[in-house]
């Protein structure tokens, strides 16, 4: 009989030699850089255009999001419905997103449809007209959506904790409001569009099974003119204005059966040497299913369905944020346990077995994340848009493989002092 109590031998994480497959780079005739990750295994393609057009650059709240959203809702040649019909007919997806720093348009399609979809993509990017009626519909529907979200304790919790950390006026702490939607004007969106969606601010990322003439096609549709002219965007760091108080309790729904718990503090951005180390410490603390927070607060006490801590990936400055939805009457007990776990990492070194496990878990997870061209280009895009290269990636891997329990304890002593954290419960 085989002994089932003994685990089969495993290959250790430190022995995995992780390689970040390099991208190919091309330059269109007008200078737009194109980053390419090819893979012939599937018949699918992902094409993403990235612009520095995130909320950072707004002069009015929501301008970036609304501009990004409405570019697809009408060009001088086609209505929103004609655009949507064209995309849908080819089984493609055209998604748009505005983040803090950047805004994107992403096309997913079967390789065979690439060529016929590009003219419409070009129109959306180069020739949007922001019809008045589309804007007013957008305002109405977004306001309705906001009204529903404002009843959710997790949504409200996320808004307030960012406001405490960064302040109302900072792009990282600013939130959508009914008033802000009402104030949107087509002129503002057009101006924002003209300034930020220009050829010289554009980067293109392509992955998957590319038609052989992809670069020629991109040149035809995006590379042959200096569309929207050249603008020079200056991006200065903006001062954050953290709240002076640290502890907040908000009653949003008197009948709520759960509370959104948020415990957060500032943390340096990804360029700081402590950042990669904190990725490891954060994983141990609350970054995976076996974390200290999850083991204690879910698996021991059953206070919540799930609890996580995360490091924000914001560019100017980061934060460490612990979040969970817990039973209404155990929210305070949950906060006590979070502090206990912070202090435990300050007072006791992480046992070797736990640290080995987290190293292996993190490396295995990275290996899985690098599987496939879409994932690889995503990884590269994050590096490129943050002015980093593969050395940053390899350095993070090295940190995961080599950081010691003493270093982690030092880090905890520096950053895990309960008094430095903002805490919030929204019921």
């Amino acid at each position: 009989m085989m002994n089932r109590t003994i685990a089969p031998p495993i290959k250790d994480a430190v022995d995995f030699d992780i390689k970040l497959k390099p991208y190919e780079q091309f330059t269109l005739d007008n200078g737009i850089p194109v980053y390419v990750m090819k893979s012939e295994e599937q018949d699918t393609l992902q094409l993403e255009l990235v612009f520095p057009a995130g909320s950072w650059y707004e002069s009015e709240v929501l301008e970036a999001t609304a501009t990004n959203f409405l570019m697809k809702n009408g060009t001088s040649k086609h209505t929103a419905q004609e655009i949507n019909e064209n995309i849908d007919y080819h089984g493609a997806y055209l998604n748009r997103n505005a983040y803090h720093e950047n805004a994107t348009y992403t096309l997913h399609c079967l390789t065979k449809h690439t060529e016929v979809l590009l003219p419409m993509l070009q129109e959306v990017i180069l020739d949007p007209i922001f019809p008045e009626e589309e804007l007013s519909l957008y305002k109405q529907n977004q306001k309705q959506k906001l009204a529903v979200n404002l009843l959710k304790c997790d949504f409200v919790g996320n808004r307030f904790i960012d406001k405490y950390l960064f302040g109302d006026f900072h792009p990282y702490g600013r939130v959508s409001t009914m008033m802000a939607y009402d104030a949107l004007q087509t002129e503002g969106l057009q101006a924002f569009y003209k300034k930020h969606y220009t050829y010289n601010n554009c980067k293109i990322f392509v992955a998957g099974n590319l038609p052989p003439n992809t670069i020629a096609l991109l040149n035809t549709y995006f590379g042959s003119t200096k569309w929207n002219g050249e603008t020079n965007l200056v991006k200065l760091d903006l001062p954050i204005q953290p709240a002076e108080e640290k502890k907040f309790r908000i009653f949003n729904d008197e009948n709520g059966v759960q509370g959104a718990v948020r415990v957060a503090r500032h943390f340096p951005n990804r360029y700081h040497p402590d950042f990669p180390k904190m990725l490891v410490l954060n994983t141990i603390f609350g970054g995976y299913f076996g974390s200290r927070l999850m083991s204690n607060i879910r698996e021991e006490k059953g206070y919540t369905y799930g609890i996580y801590s995360q490091l924000y990936n914001f560019r100017q400055t980061s934060a460490l944020n612990i979040q969970t939805e817990a039973g209404r009457d155990v929210c305070e007990a949950t906060i006590d346990e979070i502090y206990k776990e912070l202090l435990r990492l300050q007072n006791e070194p992480v046992p070797k077995e736990e640290l080995d496990l987290v190293r292996n878990y993190m490396i295995g997870s990275i290996l899985g994340d690098l599987d496939g061209a879409f994932q690889l280009i995503q990884r590269w895009k994050n590096l490129i848009l943050n002015d980093l290269d593969e050395n940053y990636f390899y350095n993070n891997i090295k940190t995961i493989k080599t950081i010691t329990a003493e270093e982690l304890q030092q880090l905890a002593k520096q950053y895990f002092t309960p008094g430095d954290f903002y805490e919030l419960v929204v019921i």
Binding site: A80, H108, Q144
Partner: protein, 412 residues
């Protein structure tokens, strides 16, 4: 075309292997042929609670997650009304760890009182988070009870009421396990950087000696045809009125399922779909509207749900939906529109197949449907649907007698 090999162990465990040597990873997927529909009506939520208990340690291995994380792996699971699925993704070199862990919990759980006690609480919080503490969170609970009189789809996977979870006893848990979680009721799908020979050897080694168990013979009461429309009004503390309409559709293995699925895409798939275009963009009656179904194995529900623009009357909103449905009943759709929804299916399937995890998961799912080979024939099932067939299906499906409507009113 997804290639695979299939064999069955002596104890009845079906094994599917999908080799993919372009990835460094492997997936181990175990599907158990049991879901919420198999529960005792007095003990609902059990299949899902059980899924939680599957992580509380097995007979020879005190913790499930730790050895897996040590091997660089991740895992999760889900329970539906139809089935329960567990999956692991890990570096292919460490695949044996997956076999070790999954086979031990198929052999027997630890049945620990403490684990049951904690997971009861965790599931209660999950229940609150998703179904109580969210605006409109109770609607599916109510819709299932409205639409089903007989079939066990009348309760949700999480359970009919919290008390069923709170009262779960360890002996019930044991009985449930030994009835359903047996090799003869399970499908193991392994994919990634592995070989058929290797998986054969590992499957024999780790799963081969687990007692086969008794094949579960499912014998659920079918939902009888609905003789008259069902309607329900709800008033709750929500900011907007909402309208939900559900129509009984066909079982997953019924040929007509594909026509119905295409109908849902015509009405609600993508921004150019009919309901969005007419009711949100042109008539401005809804701020959002969707049409979908869950792909249930037994006869499911085609659902239309939307939130009304403030100031719009419920009866006007409902009438406008009705008109769109009548249009499908009265006019045959154009070849272009039919081609559009077929192209969307083709694309959806291609994007789904990109992920190794999805491929392993789907192979197990189609094997449960009857044969893993069905996965490769799925698109053909859509391709052959004609506009005339869609027209016929729309007439039957959207018969008023077949409808279940919830009028969800904002209290203030």
């Amino acid at each position: 075309m997804i290639h695979y090999n299939k064999f069955t162990l002596a104890n009845g465990l079906r094994v599917i292997v999908h080799e993919d040597h372009t990835t460094p990873m492997a997936v181990v997927n175990v599907l158990y042929d049991v879901g919420a529909r198999d529960e005792n009506p007095a003990q609902t939520g059990f299949a899902h609670l059980f899924e939680h208990l599957m992580f509380g340690g097995s007979i020879n291995i005190p913790t499930y997650d730790e050895p897996l994380q040590m091997a660089g792996g991740e895992n999760n699971a889900y329970t539906t009304s139809d089935l329960t699925n567990y999956y692991i993704q890990l570096p292919a070199e460490n695949i044996e760890t997956g076999f070790w862990l999954e086979s031990d919990r198929m052999l027997s759980l630890a049945f620990d009182e403490k684990s049951l006690d904690v997971q009861r609480k965790v599931v209660s919080e999950e229940f609150k988070e998703h179904y109580i503490n969210k605006p409109y969170g109770d609607v599916w609970h109510k819709m299932r009870e409205l639409a089903y009189t007989t079939h066990p789809y009348r309760w949700m996977t999480i359970g009919k009421e919290l008390s069923h979870i709170e009262n779960a006893k360890l002996e019930d848990v044991k009985a449930f396990f030994f009835k359903y979680y047996r090799p003869v009721n399970a499908i193991l799908a392994v994919g990634g950087n592995v070989t058929v020979e290797q998986v054969k050897a590992l499957a024999e080694k780790w799963f081969g000696d687990i007692p086969s168990g008794e094949k579960y013979q499912r014998n659920l009461p079918a939902e009888p045809p609905q003789p008259a429309a069902h309607k329900l009004e709800i008033k709750a503390n929500v900011p907007l009125d909402a309208l939900y309409k559900c129509y009984h559709m066909y079982a997953r293995t019924d040929k007509r399922y594909y026509a119905a699925d295409l109908i849902s895409d015509i009405l609600g798939g993508g921004s150019s779909s009919r309901l969005h275009q007419v009711l949100v963009k042109e008539k401005k009656l809804f701020s959002n509207i969707e049409c979908y179904h869950f792909g249930s194995l037994d006869a499911g529900l085609m659902t239309i749900e939307g939130k009304l623009v403030k100031g719009i009357k419920m009866k006007d909103a409902e009438k406008a939906i009705q008109q769109e449905l009548e249009k499908l009943q009265n006019e045959v759709i154009s070849e272009r529109e039919l081609q559009k929804v077929k192209n969307r299916v083709e694309s959806l399937l291609a994007f789904e197949d990109m992920s190794l995890l999805n491929r392993a998961n789907n192979l197990a799912f189609y094997e449960l449907l009857g044969d893993a080979a069905l996965m490769n024939r799925e698109f053909e099932n859509y391709e052959v649907v004609t506009a005339a067939e869609l027209h016929e299906e729309a007439k039957l499906l959207f018969d008023e007698k077949n409808s279940n409507t919830i009028y969800y009113y904002a209290a203030n």
